[in-house]
Symmetry: C2
């Protein structure tokens, strides 16, 4: 009978030491397959340990399949295929890069209000917090969103057609599954590169659809072969184009021509229109029920909050229930309840109008300092009527990389328009920079103007 | 000049009333495309309103594209394509069905501890809560998960290879994008139907792979043409089979034969092994770096918490960074920080061992009452060594539907094994029920035994 050296002072219990020792013997072939193991009683006496210890070790070996048990006979070693030895992996250094720098806008978020609402939800909604939210999202939040859109966007969606999801990227994934992979998906060019990456990662056919000064170029759309067009007519990213009513009519006509055409209206920063009323959505003027509305709270509240939603036309909602209704909601009830209260109690409206004011003051001050500067006639500003970004067209001999570096040195995060192009224009797009308001502070403006003067002065 | 009736007592501001009136005139063709609008000054005098009011209305019409502005000339109505009128949708009745009934286990969750940790996170992590989490998830949580697995599962994963996501279904979606759509995906049959639905919704080719008493039937796997096998070797759902080491070796050999084969090890309820040590993972014995480990906190903590994770082999992790690294993390920082503390402070271990004890007492009491009952020899229990469910094989003439109804009347949620079959067996599977522990309470057992006696007595 084999002898195993067991150490009662070891941190590992005796049964575990025995289990390991026998397992190693079986794996190494020292106990060949088919051999009967000593009886529990005999081994316990031999090793001077309790029978329960042997039994526990044997049961573990049985559970993992190293031995089999034959009733009224005992335990037998299994014949095992030679298991290749695991190669220990080197720990990887691939930890994430640091998250993006704290953006200025985060400081404006009414965190103490949010924290108070969260504490209230913890106190008042214990039972709800322990249950999974309904698959489409909590009714409380879907109703609050519908009320919010009624107040701020002037349309009145059916809460039953709202689907809550953990971020816009997640919802794009779901939409591809809903609308189908056989379609070609049209994307605005230039546009948000991340959107293209989601479609590409999903392996669907993608077409870059170029823009003219009114948004989607209808000719380009028609020749692209796209059946689904993903667009942001309220304030295109990054050009800032607001699609006028005439072009919207043309898009609607295109939509109505074929039964399998769809528009995905990405209304990601519509809340930040600086004057007048918000631009009506295409969803609300859709006569054929084939515009899907999408929006997110990442831009308006904080990017740490990953709550987005889409509103489906009624017939499509029925298909959603059938095909994808099984998907669990990806947003915790806790955030959903807090956000519902934040919306219903008016904090969202207050926060958005405060931020809108903040961005407008920034924009106005920037425009006025720019006009007073020596580079006023070398810079054209575009897309600054709304949203969180604007385009600067600079007359400069510098490369876009150099311009970007100089702006970064002034603490301004900017990117060349070219970086947003899927099919880069052959020429002529140099010197157009996309600047985000959310990164700017009033105090930075004089330095920014100075840098812009330097960048453009070298033109002369 | 047209006259518009504006009402200063109306809730809508004057400019908005004017904007609507002019817009309607343009849409209806009463102001034809190309017609010059009255100057701001003239219209203001005509309507006896301020010039700013007219200007604001005109600017809104301009922004939405109903008019264009010609410098030093004025505003002109646009020629518009006829916009089809929107058909108002009937509000849909399609609200979600009620979420599943509160499960007994929810009551065992240490909610007050969780709430206290949440309040602590709110106080101490304000800045972190305002920033988006890193794409793979917070380092705090990934390290806490690695430590947890070292303690409880006996392997030592690299936190840099852990990806956090909002639920297992979300991660399945991501895995398909990572491994590729060209593969056929093998699924255990019988198995969790929802997993099949996710793969089907993604439009990838799926093969049902039948099981024998050791788990995946190797013959069936080989003839299925699957390159990726999704399996739960630790405790298969719903059969409860624990795949023994011999079969694991065969699976590893299959994996090593071709470079594009993968195993997805779904370890969804491994924490609830009732005796001995946990069964080692296949991930930890993988010599070729092609086992992906997945687990979720929905089963162990509460289904309201939608946090799951996967651990990728190092080479696959590098591919993830390249192909899918752009995806934002779908879980709020708030839940991630709270869970990290819950794990690190030992609450998770305590909760899991309390629940394990709870389920074991339930199981033991059920088995002992069953043995003492008159139907002991008509019922075989299987898969009850671990996990949150067991199989009952009943000798009964009743249909599965009838058996299920009678069990439901005793307050026990059970489902026929057949409902989990992708390719239903021609015969012989009748009378096998899957019963979940998390729905049972001790007090229900006498009634359950009584119902089982009735169900099986009718066999004689």
């Amino acid at each position: 009978m084999r002898t195993y050296v067991l150490d009662a002072g070891n941190k590992k219990p005796l049964y575990e030491q025995l289990y390991h020792a026998v397992k190693e013997d079986i794996l190494a072939g020292r106990i060949p397959g088919g051999e009967k193991l000593p009886s529990k009683r005999a081994l316990a006496e031999h090793l001077n340990i309790s029978r329960v210890t042997v039994e526990t070790a044997y049961e573990q070996l049985l559970a993992e399949g190293y031995v089999i048990s034959r009733p009224r006979s005992g335990y037998y070693a299994q014949s095992l295929p030679t298991l290749p030895k695991a190669i220990p992996e080197q720990p990887s250094a691939v930890f994430d890069a640091a998250p993006s720098l704290p953006s200025a806008s985060a400081g404006h978020f009414p965190f103490s209000v949010w924290a108070r609402l969260m504490r209230g939800v913890l106190l008042d909604h214990r039972d709800q917090l322990l249950q999974p939210p309904p698959n489409l999202g909590l009714a409380e939040l879907r109703q609050a969103i519908a009320r919010q859109l009624r107040r701020s966007r002037g349309f009145d969606p059916d809460p039953g057609c709202i689907v809550i999801g953990a971020g816009a990227e997640y919802l794009y994934n779901i939409l591809i599954q809903l609308l189908g992979r056989e379609h070609r998906y049209g994307l605005e060019d230039p546009g948000h590169r991340k959107i293209a990456r989601v479609y590409e990662a999903n392996g669907v056919s993608v077409a870059a659809v170029s823009l003219d000064e009114q948004g989607i170029d209808m000719q380009a759309l028609r020749s692209s072969g796209a059946a689904v067009m993903h667009l942001s007519p309220g304030h295109q990213y990054p050009t800032g184009i607001v699609t006028p009513i005439g072009r919207r009519g043309e898009l609607m006509a295109w939509l109505a021509e074929q039964p399998d055409r769809w528009l995905i209206e990405d209304d990601y920063d519509s809340e930040f229109r600086f004057s007048g009323r918000p631009i009506p959505t295409m969803f609300s003027m859709d006569p054929v029920g084939r515009v899907i509305y999408m929006n997110t709270f990442s831009k308006t509240i904080t990017p740490a909050l990953r709550i987005s939603y889409m509103i489906l036309p009624k017939a499509l909602m029925a298909q959603y229930h059938e095909k994808l209704g099984f998907y669990s909601c990806t947003v915790p009830s806790f955030e959903q309840l807090t956000l519902a209260k934040f919306l219903d109690d008016g904090y969202f409206d207050k926060h958005v109008s405060r931020m809108r004011r903040h961005y407008r003051v920034l924009r106005d001050e920037f425009l006025s300092q720019l006009r007073a500067s020596s580079c006023a006639d070398r810079i054209t500003v575009q897309g600054h009527e709304a949203g969180l970004h604007m385009l600067l067209r600079l007359q400069t001999p510098l490369s876009d990389e150099e311009t970007q570096t100089r702006l970064a040195q002034a603490g301004v995060r900017a990117a060349a328009l070219r970086q947003y192009e899927m099919c880069p224009a052959a020429e002529g797009q140099q010197g157009i920079m996309v600047v985000s308001y959310s990164d700017l502070e009033l105090g930075q403006l004089p330095r920014l103007i100075q840098v812009l003067e330097q960048i453009t002065t070298q033109a002369s």
